[in-house]
Symmetry: C2
Subunit: 451 residues, 2 copies
């Protein structure tokens, strides 16, 4: 597609569809594309590096062998197949040229737009310690979830074959860094998975040797939730065998373990959930990011100072009713995508974007979750049931099958984990055999909550 | 475990359980282990490089995005969990020391046995062209199935972004090498997947550009089946758009395509199914393999000339009623595992092993399969229905869920493929960027049939 030619057509008054380009096929980008589905005189192109949209709230269940990747991922093409005016490109964006109204791709191609929606999400922030990423993957993609699952399961096999008690203890130790929802979910799920596997599958291992350490730099876990829910989560985690260490910093991460304030703890698996930053989209626009690289937008989600460019979801920054930036939640991204899609479709925006809080949740274990609806809260088994119901509903809405619901119920009844497969990929060789020489304290502030 | 100490105990008459070691947790090894489950005074250890048993007959459905890996794989520990006397070790065997009754592991450990069962299966044979493996993976493990799926799906995305018609045609071309059941299943499934995806998901691609070439060196595909079934398979494949090229040799395989007798065909994905050889277990025993490295055994499945060592399944060679070696089929391995397990349990073998042919099958497409029961045959939709019934039954027996059956039925009704996920792993970087300089003709004889 030739940007200048197309715009020339438009300038000489030739009637042409306008072209809305959406970068990012996550909750926000796809909600926007769906709102624009079959809109008259409008072509929509979604660009994504991956071919699928991911139901991230359940990614921790892939990492802990409860679900398969395909259970929570949906090809973007499939989602958009019902619209005649939408298209998808699997490509990597490397820049935006606002004066030319053009998006630059890594393969050298470019794509012209009339309206551009940036919905590129967020990624894990290692606060300058990029070398840690290799040893402590975060949980953002299917690849990382599979990597974590692989390491978790392999650690048990290695513990089983360990030559000493020290080695066995190391392989049975997991360290989860960051006490936000992801960290809490992972710590709880690892503890439950570990105890189940040891008691059922590993005759030579003892459940008491399982050690799951949740490290949080701040004074409490689930910092975005009311304090009594943090306390509930902590006591529940401790009950199921997780060591919760708040106000504690991780100083170094190596292949064999992590240095946690004065103590080196050997570990078979380390998971990073300690902070996110926005995608680098702000640099494409050559503007300064705010609050971790987010693109500031006005109440209509327009990027200030640039024509026809919008930003939504985790990569954008807009103040909520309380004056603080809205959190990086799926529900925020989705509401923004719907709002913007409707505006772009109608060509006008009657009022600014208002976030409606649907409740913030974190699941702690097989029978425990917390919910924060602002005015009231819930915790325990009832909250878990609500969490399960909400997520089954959301998944079905996500065009995803009753099947996952069936699997859940089956698993709940049998306590089985269906996806305990170690595929002998080269994943372990992904682990580069070097770490950054840079030392210093790693920030382990809570990650932003997500719904 | 200390081999000499344990055997010393036995020699001084101290009553100890005897130890049966089974190398390989496939159909044969596990059937043997299950027969020995809870046998008195018997300890059983299964050694496998992977933590799971794979239902290989459906692996092609993982490769073509119809099933997830976890749907057809079962952790070996889970299968054996109900027996108190069985254990599993995830480790790699590098040798056997018959005089010491000991198995040597790659991690330097060893394991003593009283009875040793070798059930290490087979692997793809590249007939000396090991460099081809990188560009044309076979279909033996989950890793390879995912690799093939990844390449297939990525090729469509690349075709969609192709800069020329030539490039587009190359990405829409798949070459399947070997006209045995695996090759036929893959060619049929790729053609169906491709047409479905193009018609539904890719507006810029035309179904007519899809090209699936099935190359077979011998005079006909499905050479192990009666001739009229080969002909049926050929005409069905051609009907669904597969080019079947028999009596044709592949001379070279490169990253960009394959040289097929006088013509270089650029292709987005190449799949190898052209021949198998036995695992290298015969070299552990320092005996000469027969018929592609298989270990010759007597009618009691004993390795000739070695005490207390047995071999079963694809890695062993035993003549059937017709004097020819039994084929490398799951049903042969399983029947041998059961036979041997019973003999080892009772301590006596009343009669030699007799293979009962349950029928040989290959599936060609969504509504077509062939069955060969020796005395009579079946083909077409009825054969497909029987194939589906048999495999649902076998899968459930494999301790695998009704769920897969549910998925199948759902997919059959909706023509959906649930697992069309490209996870952005480093898999493509697995592809080493070199090919062997060695040229010469590649043998592309039919692979051995499997049930």
């Amino acid at each position: 597609m030739n940007a200048s030619k197309e715009r020339a057509n438009r300038l000489v008054g030739q009637r042409a569809s306008r072209h809305v380009v959406i970068i990012g096929g996550g909750f926000g980008g796809l909600a926007c594309a769906i709102e624009l589905g079959n809109a008259p005189d409008t072509d929509v192109t979604v660009i994504d590096r991956r071919n699928h949209n991911l139901f991230q709230p359940l990614l921790y269940q892939v990492a802990t062998a409860a679900l398969s990747p395909a259970d929570i991922a949906e090809p973007i093409r499939k989602t958009l197949a019902r619209f005649k005016n939408t298209n998808m490109i699997m490509a990597e964006v490397v820049g935006v040229d606002p004066p030319r109204h053009s998006v630059v791709l890594s393969d050298g191609g470019s794509l012209s737009y009339d309206k551009l929606v940036i919905a590129t999400g967020s990624e894990y922030n290692y606060f300058g310690h990029e070398g840690w990423r290799t040893f402590a993957p975060g949980l953002k993609s299917i690849h990382e979830a599979r990597q974590i699952r692989h390491r978790l399961l392999l650690a048990f096999e290695r513990a089983d074959r360990a030559k000493s008690e020290t080695e066995k203890q190391a392989f049975l130790t997991s360290i989860v860094i960051g006490g936000g929802p992801t960290g809490v979910e992972m710590a709880g799920a690892i503890s439950e998975l570990g105890r189940f596997m040891i008691s059922r599958d590993f005759r030579n291992l003892q459940p008491d040797n399982l050690r799951v350490i949740l490290v949080e730099a701040g004074p409490r876990i689930l910092a975005a939730f009311p304090e009594h829910l943090s306390e509930y989560a902590r006591s529940y985690l401790e009950k199921i065998g997780v060591e919760v260490r708040t106000a504690t910093r991780v100083l170094d991460i190596r292949e064999e373990g992590a240095e946690i304030e004065g103590e080196f703890v050997p570990a078979g698996s380390i998971i990073w959930g300690a902070g996110v930053k926005a995608s680098p989209a702000h640099s494409w626009l050559r503007i300064a990011g705010v609050a971790g690289g987010r693109i500031p937008v006005d109440e209509y989600l327009r990027v200030q100072g640039l024509d026809d460019i919008y930003a939504i979801g985790d990569t954008s920054a807009i103040a909520g009713a309380d004056g603080k930036f809205l959190p990086g939640l799926a529900q925020v991204a989705k509401q923004q995508g719907i709002y913007l899609g409707r505006n772009l479709r109608s060509g006008k925006a009657v009022s600014g974007f208002k976030f409606k809080n649907r409740g913030n949740t974190a699941v702690i274990g097989r029978n425990a979750a917390v919910f924060d609806f602002g005015k009231w809260t819930m915790k325990g088994r009832a909250a878990w049931l609500l969490w399960a119901l909400v997520h089954v509903y959301l998944l079905i809405n996500f065009e995803k099958r009753l099947l996952v619901a069936v699997q859940w119920i089956g698993r709940y009844l049998t306590r089985q984990r269906g996806a305990r497969i170690i595929d002998e990929t080269a994943e372990e060789t992904d682990v580069a055999r070097h770490i950054t020489a840079a030392g210093g304290a790693g920030k382990t502030s809570a990650d932003r909550p997500r719904s």
